[in-house]
């Protein structure tokens, strides 16, 4: 049934730290790799080595420039994937029941063998988290690496989503938001984690930690005014040649 569960036992999701993300796109690549080689239809590329390559990705990193009223602009790297919303509009619009939200852990998934590829779930998602695969013609989305997080064949440290495991900066965190003591809940309360597009009333599970306020430097170096200026005119032989050449 594509009705949403009233509550979920666990509320698994990600915290993405915009202060820490360096925009390396490693999460994008590891996501593409894992989800092409494992569960579900592979994430296809079209014209991969040609003039206009494009492909299906479940996670993409945008970069934004923010200009505050005072101070200098800053660039913020912004990874975006499915937010596994509590009121997921992509689930209720699905005519076949292929799109569903699990009551045990809140993960939003697509049953690919039931998907008719109508695209309405992607229309309903304000975040652009769903992409229709150009080859399989079914809707693809982040599974929160459901085939990793419960996979006991993997080492314990690998039983987290691929993007989180890969992030070299530690900008991505995975956990249960229903547990107030969890790492992710703590991060959200300590750092003021926010929802994307709260006015769309989707109640996203994934939270974003805004960049910390930049400190300001009043004086670069208090000793600087006391230092002798560097000689502007070089006194060397090369300097002499330079002068002579200028005269010609």
């Amino acid at each position: 049934m594509t009705s949403l569960p009233e509550t979920t036992e666990k509320k698994l999701g990600l915290v993405i730290d915009l202060d820490t993300c360096v925009g390396c796109h490693a999460c994008v690549i590891s996501c593409k790799g894992w989800n092409t080689e494992n569960y579900g239809a592979p994430l296809a590329d079209v014209d991969a080595y040609g003039k206009n390559p494009e492909g299906t990705f479940l996670n993409r990193v945008h970069s934004y420039e923010v200009t505050p009223k005072q101070g200098t602009p800053q660039v913020v790297h912004f990874p975006k994937s499915c937010l596994h919303c509590e009121d997921a509009p992509c689930v209720t619009v699905c005519p076949t029941g292929a799109s569903y939200k699990r009551s045990e852990d809140g993960i939003v998934l697509v049953n690919e063998s039931d998907c008719i590829g109508c695209g309405l779930c992607a229309w309903a998602c304000p975040y652009g988290a769903r992409e229709m695969d150009a080859v399989e013609k079914v809707m693809k989305k982040c599974t929160l690496c459901v085939d990793r997080i419960y996979n006991e064949n993997l080492e314990p440290e690998d039983q987290i989503p691929s993007c989180v495991r890969t992030c070299p900066a530690g900008a991505r965190h995975f956990g249960d938001f229903n547990d107030p003591k969890s790492h992710v809940s703590q991060l959200v309360s300590d750092r003021g984690g926010i929802d994307l597009m709260p006015e769309q009333k989707t109640k996203p599970v994934n939270k974003y930690l805004p960049p910390r306020q930049k400190d300001t430097l009043d004086e670069i170096d208090i000793l600087a005014p006391l230092l002798k200026p560097v000689a502007e005119e070089p006194n060397t032989f090369i300097g002499w040649i330079n002068k002579q050449l200028d005269k010609i």
Binding site: T2, H62, T67, I116, C118, M132, Q200
Partner: protein, 290 residues
């Protein structure tokens, strides 16, 4: 939104077809036998043709029967069920009128109401989407229903109803455009709320996540076609509303009526093209586009 031909044809033709069935179910025109056959053929042809066109929009049309399952939550599923139910009821009603000269009154009335309901479910597929502020309004069902009824009245040859309904749909169409142009701004969704960075300052898309295009940009970000929207709006209004009113008020002849129908359908296609092409999906904001 990408104005894909399959959805434009689907919504326009099935709207006209079900609009005609509304009138046929109410004995307008009150004809039996062969003439009734012609009217029902046009009605069914448009409605079924439109519905078939919609399956071209599917990635996996061979699985389309699965779409009848989720009527509890999904407007698309409700539409599928409603359309099939309506066509079945109307088919029995049509057989009665065409072959037996018999009017099964209750089926006609039920079919009529269900035809209208089917158009309503179609409109709700679009009106339910918060992610597309221009569509997320009561005006969307009003737009679909008024045009379906006006077109139906025109095809059914109900001139008096047609005048009245065309004027109403022209008015609704104008409202759709005027209000629609402000919808995205009023929705409160911006690049600032989308990234959560708006609290810090002015946000600008600095670098897209990929050098090429992708499904999202192709499906949801359609900017090129909006260039001529003002001209197309005027052309659409003239063809869809103005010309049919003028032609019908001259004097009644089959030639004038046929011209009125052709003009109306051409205008309707332009209006529906604009409905999709002008709709801004908020995901475009992430790409610094609208």
């Amino acid at each position: 939104m990408h104005p894909s031909p399959s959805v434009i044809i689907f919504t326009s033709l099935s709207g006209l077809g079900f609009g005609l069935l509304v009138f046929l179910g109410l004995q307008m025109p009150d004809v039996m036998g062969f003439f009734s056959f012609i009217f029902f053929t046009i009605g069914f042809g448009l409605a079924v043709g439109g519905l078939l066109a919609s399956t071209f929009h599917l990635g996996r049309p061979e699985r389309s029967l699965k779409a009848f399952k989720q009527w509890r939550s999904s407007w698309l599923s409700r539409e599928a069920i409603s359309a099939v139910f309506t066509l079945s009821v109307m088919a029995v009603y049509a057989v009665g009128r065409i072959f037996f000269d018999y009017d099964i009154r209750v089926l006609g009335i039920v079919g009529s109401i269900m035809s209208l309901l089917t158009v309503f479910t179609t409109s709700m597929i679009y009106a339910q989407l918060k992610s597309i502020p221009r569509w997320n309004t009561n005006l969307t069902p009003a737009y679909f229903l008024s045009l379906s009824l006006a077109g139906g009245a025109l095809l059914a040859g109900q001139v008096k109803f047609c005048f009245f309904l065309l004027i109403i749909s022209g008015f609704v169409q104008l409202l759709v455009w005027v209000k629609g142009d402000k919808a995205l701004a009023l929705s409160g969704t911006t690049i600032g709320s989308g990234t959560g960075l708006g609290v810090i300052g002015q946000v600008r898309a600095f670098e897209p996540p990929h050098t090429g295009t992708n499904y999202l940009l192709k499906e949801f970000v359609h900017i090129v076609g909006r260039k001529h929207s003002a001209k197309l709006r005027i052309i659409s209004l003239i063809l869809m509303i103005g010309t049919p009113i003028l032609l019908l008020s001259l004097s009644f002849s089959h030639l004038l009526a046929a011209l009125a129908v052709i003009s109306h359908i051409s205008g309707l296609f332009i209006s529906r093209w604009l409905f999709f092409a002008e709709a801004e999906h908020v995901v475009g904001l992430y790409y610094g586009k609208r």
